[in-house]
Symmetry: C2
Subunit: 301 residues, 2 copies
């Protein structure tokens, strides 16, 4: 019989991940700020137990998954307020699997704090978005000790398809940061190519076709290019979420002494989109920043 | 029997392209500034005729291919000095196929000038570099009239593998410009991701592996990533050639009213590499500009 594990953070990503674990036979002790999803899962699954604080979750299990919006949320759940944090009940043999996307430095801080208590931690951020969370096909980038990775693997295999142990604590978050650099900057490449070509009079579908046949090819142009030229920016992955990740990236660059001039510029273009009320569009809407600069819309050519 | 065509510009790209045409049964009337390659081809192939000027080439054939370094070179060959240009002998039924990478505006100028004489022109820049030229596997991006495209197709099929009619005159050059934007900016994406990740302590091979498994994937990271992390920048495609293309791109952006902020920044990073004596390295050496800013070499981690 599969073990009972804790799950904290049942949002857009967390809820379908928790459902996949429940459907795979795991019992869950759950905790979440908003109660609607807690009641939903509690009424649907007999194998769900509710806990009123992170500490109460940790008291009942030896493995806890967190899936939260940002670094401060994860710190708050782990370190707690007035002694209600996970860390109060974590010790020898206990494991935190943080699947949120947060700063590598915070992941290392959590790892060190838990090690001091005899417990351990994995950073295990994901890519693949809500569809990947629902389908159980996430890509999971893991940092931490090898033995902890092996222990968590059966859980990861329920949630994701591509599971990579990237290195020591923080390495999962670092690779996620690298991933988000590449996605954002590749969108900039596709955006400037498509706007220049279309405003110069070329059918943008031809541009996608030719570029994806050679060295210029990128997955973002292949998967999102058609939506970029038709102006369909239904998310997908929201600009505001990518902006949060870009904030982590720029902080991490500062911390490790790595100037990121191109990522910084793309980050500012995303900030400009947010200032123009587009923060909830898909991140492929970066093309609209280049369109605005050119006073030209590819979709209206 | 295949027709006799003219070929002007027998450099690193032009010579192997001419050889492929000769081996496919075409007879060539050739002209080149440097005489060594002219003598080489003349002594190897009975089907080669030498001409002492572009005008003399045009006098003997109805189809002329040009493969030259830059816009001024193509203008000089077509318009000539003291009446020795191609245009003097071009009229009804004659076709210029310019396979150089030049400004879209120049391609349109040539097309218009030749149309006025009753002749026609295709812009047909290529990607795939010297290996593609030798193997006859170039990607050919063609702008111009449909009938001219159909007429030139058997020639293109000897020289390349992916042949796309992109639109009216200039469209081939425009798509080539888009292609070079995407390649340069995708290199920037891969460079910043790899330098940040490696300086933060992650094995860069893991980064390539994870990123290429998802939305962050690009062909440049897939094909050149391994060389970027080992510091092998043997060309390939030289930085100085990509800088020439980036000059065309920025001029074209100005002409059509398209600001290209990210491409402009990447172009300046390439200029900095040239200023540091790296203009003859492969364009994937863009990573060394990010490494220099970070005072860190991925290959020496």
């Amino acid at each position: 019989m599969a073990e009972t594990i804790g799950f904290i953070g049942l949002g857009i990503m967390g809820e379908p991940m928790a459902r996949n674990l429940l459907n795979a036979g795991y019992s869950l002790v759950i905790h979440n700020r908003s109660q609607a999803v807690v009641e939903r899962l509690d009424s649907e699954f007999e194998t769900v137990t509710r806990a009123s604080s992170p500490r109460e979750v940790a008291a009942q299990v030896s493995t806890v998954i967190t899936m939260l919006p940002d670094s401060p949320d994860v710190r708050a759940v782990v370190f707690g307020v007035d002694g209600d944090g996970l860390i109060e009940e974590m010790g020898e043999g206990d494991l935190l699997i943080d699947m949120s996307t947060i700063a590598p430095a915070t992941a290392i801080e959590l790892y060190d704090a838990l090690k001091e208590k005899g417990a351990s931690a994995l950073d295990a951020p994901v890519s693949g978005g809500e569809p990947g969370a629902i389908a159980g096909t996430l890509s999971i980038m893991v940092g931490g000790d090898e033995a902890d990775f092996e222990r968590a693997k059966p859980i990861f295999e329920v949630l994701g398809q591509t599971i990579t142990h990237c290195g020591a604590a923080g390495a999962g978050q670092t690779v996620k940061a690298c991933n988000q650099i590449a996605v954002a900057v590749n969108y900039a490449a596709a955006s400037e190519a498509l706007v220049l070509g279309a405003k110069a009079g070329v059918d943008p579908e031809k541009i996608i076709q030719v570029l994806n046949g050679g060295l210029a090819a990128s997955r973002v142009m292949e998967l999102r290019g058609p939506n970029m030229i038709s102006g369909n920016f239904e998310p997908g992955f929201r600009i505001n979420l990518h902006r949060k990740d870009l904030g982590i990236i720029m902080d991490t660059g500062k911390e490790f002494g790595v100037a990121l001039p191109v990522t910084a510029l793309v980050s500012q273009l995303y900030d400009s989109l947010a200032a123009n009320g587009k923060g909830d569009l898909d991140h492929s809407a970066l093309i609209t920043a280049i369109e605005a600069l050119a006073n030209f819309k590819v979709s209206e050519r």
